[in-house]
C-alpha cells in the first residue's frame, strides 16, 4: 500500500490542476499525460527488458497518422474517433513487433539503429504518400466527441489513460513477466536456464508497448489538432528514452517523474528551448556516467541501511521435504560419445556420463579438462558435434536451452548470475517463472490467477530461502550480498524448479570451511530427496565427502570413474591431479 502513495500524490495533484484556472498549464499537463501513456509502455521494453528502442517516435507518428487518416476518411469511409484510436493501437502493436523483431537476434547497437532507421523512413513515407497523409501540408487530427472536446475534458481523458497505463504496467512489473524481463536484461544466460523464452516474452512486450505508443500518438494528434511530419522530430524520441533513464531502470515511479520533469522543464527555461535537445543529451550522458540507477536509485533509502555484519548462513535442509516432494526422478541423464571442440581444441573428446537420480555425481579434473563445458552441454548452451545427451527417452541435444527447466533440470553458475537491482526474494522468485499459470493479459489486470501465482511464488521463494539460510536477507538488493551468500541464493533459485536434476558449477568456490561443510550437508540432503546432483568442484574434500560417484576428466576424456574410495586409490589420478 505504501508504494502506491507517491502515485496517488502525483495523480491527485494532476486531477486538481484544471481547477486552478490555468489553461496553459492544463495543456502542458495534457502533453505530459500523453507522453506518459507512451513512456509507460516503452518503460517495460527499455527500463525492464533493457532493449534500447531509441526511435519510438516512429510509433507515435504511426498512431497519430492512423487515427487522423481514419477519422478524416482518406482511406475508405470516415471512422468515429474512438474506434480510430483503437485501430491505431492495433496498428501500433503490429508495428511494435516488426520494429522489435531484430532485438530477438541482434545485439543492442543494431537494434538501436534499426529503430532509428524505422523512424526516419516513416517520416519519409508520411511526406511522400500525399493522397492519404497530406504530405508536407499535413492533415487535421481527430476531434473527439463531447465531453472530451474541451480543454479540461480532453485533459481528464488523457489523465485517465495515463493512470490506467500506470496501473497495468505496475501490475506487469510485479508479475513473473516483469521479473523475467529484468532477468533477460541483467542475466540472460541464467534466464535461459530458468526456462524463460526471450522471443515470446519480448514479442508480447513489443505488442503492448507498440499499442500504448500508437494510442498516445492518436491522442497527440488530437492535442495538436493538426499534424505534419515536422511535428514528429527525433527530439521526442530522445525525450521518451531519457525520461526512462533519468527515472531509473526497472522502476515505474522514476520514469513517471522523469516524463513530467522533461515535459515541464523547457517551460521554466524559455531562452533554452533551442538548446533543449542538447540539454537532454547532456543529461543522458551525465546519468549514464554518474548515476546509472536514475531517480529511483536516489529514492531507494531502504537499501542504504547497513547490513548486519558477521552474518552466518545456516541452511535448514530439513525443510527440503516441502520443496522436493516429487519423489525420485525416474530417468537418467545420459551422455554418450559426446564430442565438442572450440576451434582446434577438443574440449570434450568422446565422453560417456550417466547422472542417476538420488545420487551426487562429482566431476573433477584439472583446469581446462572440460568440466564446465560438460555441464554447459547438458544445459544446452553448446550443442555437441557428435554423440547424444538424453534424459530417459528424451533427446536433449536438439532441444533449446530453455526447454531444460520444463524437464526439471536446474543449474547454478561458476560466477553467480544475479539481478543486482532486484531483491534476493525476487531473484529467487524468478526461478519459478515457468510455473506461473496467468497469461500476460491476466497479469496486466491482476486477475485472480495472477494473484494466485504471485502468492504461491512468494511462498515458495520464502521457503527456498529458509532452506538455504538466507531468509533474513530476503528484502535486500542482491548486489549487496557477499559472494558466498550469492552461491546459496543461486541454489535457492534452482530449487524453485522442484528439480529432478540439479547441476552445480563450483558451488564451494570462495566459501569458508564452515560454509563448505554446511553446503555439503545441503547437497547431500537434496540428493536424498531423490534429485540427481552433478557437482563440478575443485575442493577434493567436499567431493570425497558427499559424492556417491566421481568422474575424473582430463583433456576432455574420462581418466577414471568410480566411488570416491576407488578414485582415491587410482594411481594416475593421484599422480596427475590430487598429488601424493
Amino acid at each position: 500500500m505504501r508504494s502506491m502513495f507517491p502515485f496517488l500524490i502525483v495523480f491527485g495533484l494532476a486531477a486538481v490542476l484544471p481547477f486552478t484556472g490555468s489553461d496553459y498549464w492544463t495543456l502542458i499537463a495534457t502533453r505530459a499525460a500523453i507522453y506518459w501513456v507512451l513512456v509507460s509502455g516503452l518503460n517495460l521494453a527499455v527500463g525492464f527488458g533493457g532493449q534500447l528502442a531509441i526511435g519510438y517516435v516512429a510509433l507515435l507518428t504511426l498512431g497519430a497518422y492512423t487515427a487522423s487518416v481514419l477519422v478524416a476518411g482518406n482511406l475508405g469511409p470516415a471512422w468515429p474517433a474512438f474506434p480510430a484510436l483503437g485501430a491505431a493501437g492495433v496498428v501500433g502493436a503490429v508495428a511494435g513487433v516488426i520494429i522489435g523483431l531484430p532485438a530477438l537476434r541482434l545485439r543492442t547497437f543494431y537494434f538501436a539503429m534499426t529503430t532509428l532507421g524505422f523512424a526516419t523512413i516513416l517520416t519519409q513515407v508520411a511526406l511522400a504518400w500525399q493522397g492519404v497523409t497530406g504530405g508536407g501540408i499535413g492533415l487535421p487530427g481527430p476531434t473527439l466527441p463531447a465531453p472530451f472536446d474541451t480543454g479540461p475534458g480532453f485533459y481528464f481523458l488523457c489523465l485517465a489513460f495515463a493512470a490506467f497505463c500506470t496501473w497495468i504496467t505496475a501490475n506487469v512489473a510485479h508479475s513473473r513477466f516483469g521479473r523475467a524481463l529484468v532477468a533477460i536484461r541483467d542475466a540472460e544466460v541464467a534466464a535461459e536456464a530458468i526456462g524463460i523464452s526471450k522471443p515470446a516474452l519480448l514479442v508480447t512486450v513489443f505488442l503492448f508497448s507498440g499499442a500504448t505508443a500508437a494510442i498516445a500518438g492518436g491522442l497527440f494528434a488530437t492535442l495538436q489538432s493538426y499534424i505534419t511530419p515536422d511535428a514528429f522530430t527525433f527530439d521526442l524520441s530522445v525525450l521518451f528514452f531519457i525520461a526512462i533513464l533519468i527515472g531509473g531502470r526497472g522502476s515505474i515511479l522514476g520514469p513517471l517523474l522523469g516524463t513530467i520533469i522533461l515535459t515541464v522543464l523547457p517551460e521554466f527555461a524559455a531562452p533554452l528551448v533551442a538548446w533543449s535537445t542538447f540539454l537532454y543529451a547532456a543529461l543522458l550522458l551525465i546519468i549514464v556516467l554518474v548515476i546509472p540507477g536514475g531517480i529511483a536509485d536516489l529514492l531507494d533509502f531502504a537499501n542504504r541501511r547497513p547490513l548486519e555484519r558477521n552474518r552466518a548462513i545456516i541452511p535448514r535442509p530439513e525443510l527440503l521435504a516441502e520443496i522436493l516432494d516429487h519423489g525420485a526422478a525416474r530417468a537418467t541423464i545420459d551422455l554418450r560419445g559426446v564430442v565438442l571442440s572450440f576451434g582446434g581444441v577438443r574440449a570434450i573428446d568422446g565422453l560417456d556420463l550417466q547422472i542417476e537420480p538420488r545420487q551426487v555425481h562429482g566431476l573433477i579434473g584439472p583446469n581446462g579438462s572440460g568440466k564446465t563445458t560438460t555441464l554447459n552441454v547438458i544445459s544446452g548452451y553448446y550443442r555437441p558435434e557428435h554423440g547424444t545427451v538424453g534424459l530417459g527417452d528424451v533427446d536433449l541435444s536438439h532441444q533449446p536451452t530453455q526447454a531444460r527447466a520444463g524437464l526439471g533440470i536446474a543449474r547454478t553458475f561458476q560466477t553467480p548470475r544475479l539481478i543486482g537491482e532486484a531483491s534476493v526474494l525476487q531473484n529467487v522468485m524468478i526461478g519459478g517463472s515457468i510455473n506461473g499459470t496467468a497469461s500476460f493479459a491476466e497479469s496486466l489486470l491482476t486477475l485472480p490467477r495472477h494473484r494466485r501465482d504471485e502468492r504461491r511464488l512468494r511462498a515458495q521463494a520464502t521457503l527456498a530461502l529458509r532452506v538455504v539460510g538466507l531468509e533474513s536477507l530476503a528484502a535486500v538488493r542482491a548486489d549487496r550480498l557477499q559472494h558466498s551468500e550469492l552461491r546459496f541464493m543461486e541454489i535457492a533459485r534452482a530449487l524453485m524448479l522442484h528439480p529432478t536434476f540439479i547441476l552445480l558449477d563450483e558451488p564451494a568456490a570462495g566459501l569458508s570451511t564452515d560454509e563448505i561443510k554446511r553446503l555439503g550437508e545441503l547437497i547431500k540432503r537434496i540428493s536424498q530427496r531423490g534429485t540427481g546432483v552433478l557437482l563440478v568442484e575443485h575442493h577434493a574434500d567436499l567431493i570425497f565427502d558427499i559424492c556417491d560417484t566421481v568422474t575424473v576428466l582430463n583433456l576432455g576424456r574420462e581418466l577414471a570413474a568410480g566411488t570416491p574410495s576407488d578414485i582415491r586409490a587410482h594411481k594416475e589420478v593421484v599422480s596427475a591431479y590430487l598429488g601424493a
Binding site: P102, R105, R107, A112, L116, T120, V125, Y280, V288, F413
Partner: protein, 286 residues
C-alpha cells in the same frame, strides 16, 4: 542516366564505405560501436566549409585543420563517452553515452552553424557538373587513399601492428607492455581523421549540413553490419553496393522506396545472419 547513376552511386557509396571504416576503426580499438561515426563525417563537411568559405583559409590548410579538429573530436569521444563505460561493456552503456555525445555534437552544429544546408567550396575546379565532375570522384579517391593508407599502417608499421594487437587480444597486448590506453586514443583520433576525410571529400556532393550526421550514421552502419563488425573489406564492398543501389532506385522509382528497400534488406539479412555476411560467429557466453 546510367552515367549519372554510376557516378553518384559510386561517390555516395564511397562515403558510406569511409563512414563504415570509421565505425570499424573505433570498434577494433575498443569493442565499442559509436554513434559519433556519422557526426564525424558531417563535421568534415561543416568544418571544411567553415574554415575555407567563412574564414577564408586556403583549401589545403582548411583540409588539414578540419582533419585535426575531427581527430580532436575523436579523442574527446574516447575520453568522455567511451573510456568511462569500458569497464561495463556487457551493459552496453556505450550505446547511450555515444548517442548522447553524438546528439550534443549535432545540436551544437545545428544551433551555431545552421539548420539549412550551406555551400561547400570548390576544391580543384575540375569538371562541369557532369559525371566526371570532381564532386563525384573525390570521394572515390579519398576512399582508395584511406584504404591504401590503412593497409600500409596496419601491415607495415609498428604502430599499426600495435593497433592490431590490442584489437586481437587486449589482455595479451597489455601484458606485453603495449600502452593500451594511448593506442585506443590514437585509434579514435585516426577514426576522426577518416570520418573527416569522408565529410570533406563529399562536401561538394552532400553540402555542409548538420543532418548529414544522422543520415551517415545509419547508411554508414548498414555496410558494417552486413559485412561484419571490424571488417573493412566488407564495409567497402557493402558501402559501394549500397550507394549504387540507392542511387539506381532514386533515379528510377524514387527515394522513399529506396529507403524502404534498404531498410527491409538490412533487417532481413541481419535476421538471417546476425554476425553479418563476412563476419565470424559469436564467442562463448557461459
Amino acid at each position: 542516366m546510367l552515367a549519372s547513376i554510376l557516378a553518384s552511386g559510386l561517390a555516395i557509396g564511397a562515403v558510406y564505405a569511409l563512414i563504415g571504416i570509421t565505425y570499424n576503426t573505433m570498434y577494433t580499438a575498443s569493442r565499442v560501436m559509436s554513434f559519433t561515426a556519422g557526426q564525424l563525417g558531417m563535421l568534415g563537411g561543416v568544418l571544411g566549409s567553415l574554415f575555407i568559405l567563412r574564414l577564408g583559409l586556403p583549401a589545403a590548410i582548411g583540409f588539414v585543420v578540419t582533419l585535426i579538429a575531427c581527430a580532436a573530436i575523436g579523442v574527446v569521444t574516447e575520453i568522455v563517452a567511451v573510456r568511462p563505460v569500458l569497464g561495463k561493456l556487457d551493459q552496453h552503456l556505450y550505446v547511450l553515452s555515444t548517442l548522447a555525445f553524438a546528439l550534443m555534437i549535432q545540436q551544437v552544429t545545428a544551433i551555431e552553424w545552421s539548420t539549412e544546408p550551406q555551400p561547400f567550396p570548390r576544391l580543384l575546379g575540375i569538371g562541369n557538373g557532369g559525371p566526371w565532375d570532381e564532386k563525384f570522384w573525390l570521394p572515390l579517391v579519398a576512399c582508395a587513399a584511406v584504404t591504401g593508407g590503412l593497409e600500409f599502417l596496419y601491415r607495415r608499421t609498428l604502430v599499426g601492428r600495435a593497433f592490431l594487437a590490442i584489437s586481437e587480444d587486449n589482455f595479451a597486448a597489455r601484458a606485453l607492455g603495449l600502452p593500451e590506453r594511448n593506442l585506443r586514443m590514437a585509434s579514435y583520433a585516426l577514426a576522426g581523421v577518416v570520418g573527416g576525410i569522408a565529410g570533406f571529400a563529399s562536401g561538394e556532393l552532400l553540402l555542409a549540413f548538420f543532418a548529414n550526421g544522422a543520415m551517415l550514421n545509419f547508411y554508414g552502419f548498414v555496410p558494417v553490419a552486413l559485412g561484419g563488425l571490424g571488417n573493412n573489406r566488407g564495409a567497402i564492398i557493402g558501402g559501394i553496393a549500397l550507394g549504387l543501389f540507392q542511387q539506381a532506385a532514386n533515379f528510377t522509382v524514387g527515394g522513399v522506396f529506396s529507403s524502404v528497400a534498404v531498410f527491409v534488406v538490412f533487417i532481413v539479412v541481419l535476421l538471417a545472419a546476425p554476425q553479418g555476411l563476412f563476419g565470424s560467429s559469436r564467442a562463448r557466453r557461459v
